[in-house]
Amino acid sequence: MKRYLMIAAIGAICVGLFCSLPAFNQAQAQGKKAAPAAEKITVLNPLGTAPPITVKAMAEPLSTLDGKTLYLVNTGFPNTERLLEEYKKWFQANYPKTTIVDQRTGMSNLTPALKKELEEKADAVIFALGH
């Protein structure tokens, strides 16, 4: 496995007025005696529970792209292939000493085979999300 592997995701995420609401008489809505508007009540938090995140160590970025292998991974969203064609042309023109490798993966998963290939051969990876 080469020493450095950095993953950069290139994403294209195609990415009531409520002023002084009248006090909603919920007791009335529930068929119960209404509470005075100024009376303080206690209500429950409606949120679910977010999972804890275990943060992984990020790989140290490359000091230079020269002599390195950069993978361009197409995630399969529409027109990503064309986007990566243009990335590839740009890197080849501006970083001629960098090896560019095209690959393809699923929209929301990385196959074990490609993961292994990236770990063994890539110095850096751009996962591109078109759309």
Partner: protein, 417 residues
Amino acid sequence: MAILAGMPKVRIHYIRGPIWAKTNEQIRKQVIEGKSPVTGKPTMAEIVEMLTKPLTAEEKQMGEIRRDRGPATYTGTAQELQKLYLEKRYTDFMPIILPTEELVDDMLKGTSHAPDEVVGRMNPGSDAGDTWTYTVKDCAVNAVMAGAKPEYFPLILAIASGNQTSINISDNGFAAAAVVNGTIRDEIGLNYDVGAVGPYAHANVAVGRAWNLISINGGNCGKIGTTYMGTVGNAQNALATIIAENEEASPFEPLAVRRSNSPAAKGYGFGNAPGGASPKYKRGDNVVTLLSGWGVLSAANWKVNAWQSLMDYPKIIKGIYEQQNPGLFGTFIILSPPIANFVKDAGFDTVEALNKYILQPDPATQADAPAAKPGARGGMGMMGGGIELIVTGSSNNNYWMAGGLRPGQAIAIDNWR
């Protein structure tokens, strides 16, 4: 997705989208030679910087991040709390029933399940975003806020147990719906007569709203910019559509029964929801089938305006199917009882027989289309292989709807009593 992978700090460069349908030249000029819409930096220079700039101290941080859900309770006047819950985005922008302990306890009487039992896990859709969990009590709080009655609670819990958001993150702007079969329809007062698909009965409305609020609060869905990206949105997200089938007026078997007896009818998992074959159900069983897709109306729906001699409903349905096939969410037909009986009288005693006719290639319209098989799916998870169909509504006229919704799980409601 990066959060789920333990990489919340992964370097992300945003390009000026959308890019699909653009030519290489357009992409080169607008993206490669353009600037990041977020930072304003030249696109390619920023990408190179992301690949080569040393990690910051913040990026080097590791360990576990725990998100605080805030205090267990809030105290204030009703007006203050309505404003607070709106500002915190705990609502659907409409006033709520404030969830006091007393009201939540009343709601919990609608089930035998323990308040702290985990009901489900939900994310905004397709693993985009992290997956939250919610308990019976969390669902009760949101059911109170929606204005639901305790007798609706088993249905609400059954829906929540499906792990399927009603407000999907997708930039497509997806809608959600649920079809209810069984005796519970009358038990809790679901409307399956005039206006069955609309908001014309308390049970339909409150259950749909509860699903939305559980999605917003239990699954952290529907937050623009983070967990909601619908490009133009979908009006049907205002209220998840709860449809009770008019089984008594239908010439066909109820949806849940029909699908559970069909080897080709698989549930499609969406978001965090599992797919797979339906359990076996019989008529009278209380079942809710979750659906997702574009909604109950499609662009092809203009064909309902065929009149007089053109009222060959099987042929019209076949035509709509052929226009939409294969589609991301297939073709979902909602027939009123008169139309369903027209179909039956045309010689189609079952939905399966109608599908057999629909799947026959029509040389006039399917010259270039590949032959579809029952249960088949096209590329990108697209659905083909026939229509899905329910019968509901009244008999006051010959109206119906066609849309794109694909059925997911069929869940036994009585398990949540």
